[in-house]
Amino acid sequence: MQGKDKVTEMKARHDLATTTVATHEDMNVPPHRWIAVCMGTGCTSAASTEVRQALTAEIEARGLADQVEVRRTGCFGFCAKGPIVVIHPDGTFYTHVDPADVKEIVEEHLLAGRRVERLLYHDPVSNVPIEKWNEIGFYGKQQRVLLRNCGLIDPENIHHYMERDGYRALRKVLTEMSPEQVIDEITRSGLRGRGGGGFPTGIKWKLARQTPRWPKYVICNADEGDPGAFMDRSLLEGDPHSVIEGMIIAAYAIGARYGYIYCRAEYPLAIRRLQIALEQARQQGLLGEHILGSDFSFDLYIKEGAGAFVCGEETALMASIQGERGQPWPRPPYPVVSGLWGQPSNVNNVKSYAYVPSIILQGAQWFQSIGTPGNSGTAVFALTGMVNNTGLIEVPMGITLREIIYDIGGGIPNGRKFKAVQTGGPLGGCLPEAYLDTAVDFDSLCAAGAVMGSGGMIVADETTCMVEFAKYFMKFACDESCGKCPPCRIGSMRMLETLECITAGMGTLEDLGYLRYLANGMQKGSLCALGQLAPAPVMSALRHFEDEFRAHIEERRCPAGKCRALITYEIIADLCTGCMVCARNCPSNAIKGERRQPHVIDAALCERCGLCIEVCKFNAIVVR
């Protein structure tokens, strides 16, 4: 593989995606060496800004500035190993890079031509260092269509995007295709909405085009509120132009003059990169009057959210753009008929728009060839929780949960046992081990009782209490219920109270029936998806883990050792050395004992915070 960069290797691996993945040569990147430093939110939190500064300074100090480019890029996906630095054209993948490592990278790798072994990714089983990214298990089964540019281009440089075929699809649409042809191409590709609903995108566009009222709006839903999900954020941060290009094409197809990107305010980096991208697109004549010299005019604005989960629901989102409380309104009429300010509006998720340029350039047939019939294309997930390789992944539809969790995710850490995987976040469901061979696509997950959702995938291991897990999601729904319709507002509160009783050891078996009764009412009576789907995590936990609910109720016992009212902490006298560390750290002074004598925990004072377990070096404290 010498002499080729990782992109070339990826090309060989994923022949289906060949035309989207350019080689180093046709990427037109500078012939000299370049270093990609991940500047996504994950790596930035882990000090990649400092790494980039140190690299630039070191390279300048060595007089290499004209030979080596240090490039800020979007997310590589392997956030667990950040900050990530990749040296091109070698394709060497360095993990956990600290500013202090920079000198060594420059001296060893750039000057002496020796790789810095200790910074390479080490195979968790064999501990053998692996140099190139596609040889790492995490990337092995991935297929990067949507994330094709993330980690390669500087998201704040429109020319990088253009060098990777950026805005070629827009040019093609404006010069060769009628709006109807665009809609037809998207419809035939089988693209389904990636916000979670899975509604065919082409059909939505067609309906919006057919409504004979103007102005029309295109709206991008970037209010990614699901806890444990950061797919849209990574895409906006790593490749904002792909979303913008997709929106311009959508606007051309439905006949819209203006568009909005509604992005949650918790994503300041994504908003900044979008602002830069919009400005650059305007300068290039890709937005504004007479785009690329055609008769088509379109402009795009960013609207910042203000912290309300319900605004991810399309009607609430539009209410928020209008400056009102983000409360949903009943559908029908659907937004394609009457949306923003009562006008026809097309609302799609970030990812749905970002697929569009590739589909236009490579055709519906190509997109259909990825994934499974009826579920074409890829799926992007934020893989988090109790799994070794957390991060952002892109896989072809139809891959199994087991492949994602074990082959890509590297299994469960600390030798623990898998318990459940939650897809779709607080409006999704969990699946136990028996369902690990379920194919990951809209229809299969739905049939199994979970949902595809927008892309959150959270793994729970045996230390996760499923009752507490369900309670957590209900707490979230209860906090985020907008309060407009009573089934959601009151139902979520009553469900939460019932779950709190169970985890506090005060539950009765009748509570299980009550939960089902409330869930049914919420599902049938709520106005929007938040209320209709909020009971789903509880119901799926009850379906697959009823024994855990019963243990809490009948035996007053939390099998996972998580529910504070049902557990006690104990010191094993034989293992305790009397070092006093736990006693000193205990916030409630519940640990008593003399130096060098086994200590004892006073259960009446103990708050069950777990601090003592964390600080004990001798594993002498257990939960019972």
């Binding site: 609207k303 959270i458 916030p587």
Partner: protein, 186 residues
């Protein structure tokens, strides 16, 4: 932004700071939320006088402005602490230990999410998912993300940031100022 008034009572609010904001959004539909965001940037929270002024300028009922300001989690109607600690309780952080962090804070400072210590030093908030799930459990102290947090480590960081006596001495010794940000992230 807020200055003490003559009799040393509650600080008054300088409403003239809002004028450039009103100018910028004049005539724009749906501008209420961006105006509230800008106001909060200026005053750090939304004082009643400011809500009143916004209602007057936009020709909206005060109840409408109040309704929007209280609907969204981003807006604060009360002054916040000098230091703000946000604990992420998104799913990934939750399963990786945010509840233990909350317990530790409550034990140490006697405040629960949304509350501020009586001395006005520290506000603690719970947020749902800051998108740093790979760093779970993640916290944000005065705008800086700190990942892989444990209760002991968090309490240490807080003490350092808030400058308790011993740490203040250390800092003086090292010749650093009080405002120094914690240099190390995970």
């Amino acid at each position: 932004m807020t200055a003490p008034n003559g009799d040393g009572g509650a600080p008054t609010v300088d409403l003239s700071l809002m004028e450039p904001v009103f100018e910028k959004y004049a005539g724009q539909p749906g501008a209420l939320i961006p105006i509230l965001q800008k106001a909060q940037d200026i005053y750090n929270y939304l004082p009643p006088e400011v809500l009143q002024r916004i209602a007057e300028r936009l020709g909206l009922a005060l109840s409408k402005v109040y309704g929007v300001a209280t609907f969204y989690a981003q807006f604060y109607l009360e002054r916040r602490g000098r230091h703000v600690l946000k604990l992420c309780d998104g799913t990934a952080c939750h399963v990786k230990g945010t509840p233990a962090l909350l317990t530790a804070i409550q034990e140490e400072y006697g405040i629960r999410p949304g509350e501020t210590t009586p001395d006005g030093e520290l506000t603690v908030e719970v947020v749902y998912c800051i998108g740093s799930c790979a760093l779970a459990p993640a916290t944000i102290l005065d705008g800086q993300v700190m990942g892989h947090m444990r209760p002991t480590k968090l309490l240490q960081r807080l003490k350092r940031q808030m400058g308790d006596t011993s740490c203040a001495k250390e800092r003086a010794h090292a010749g650093k100022g009080q405002g120094d940000r914690d240099e190390s992230t995970p």
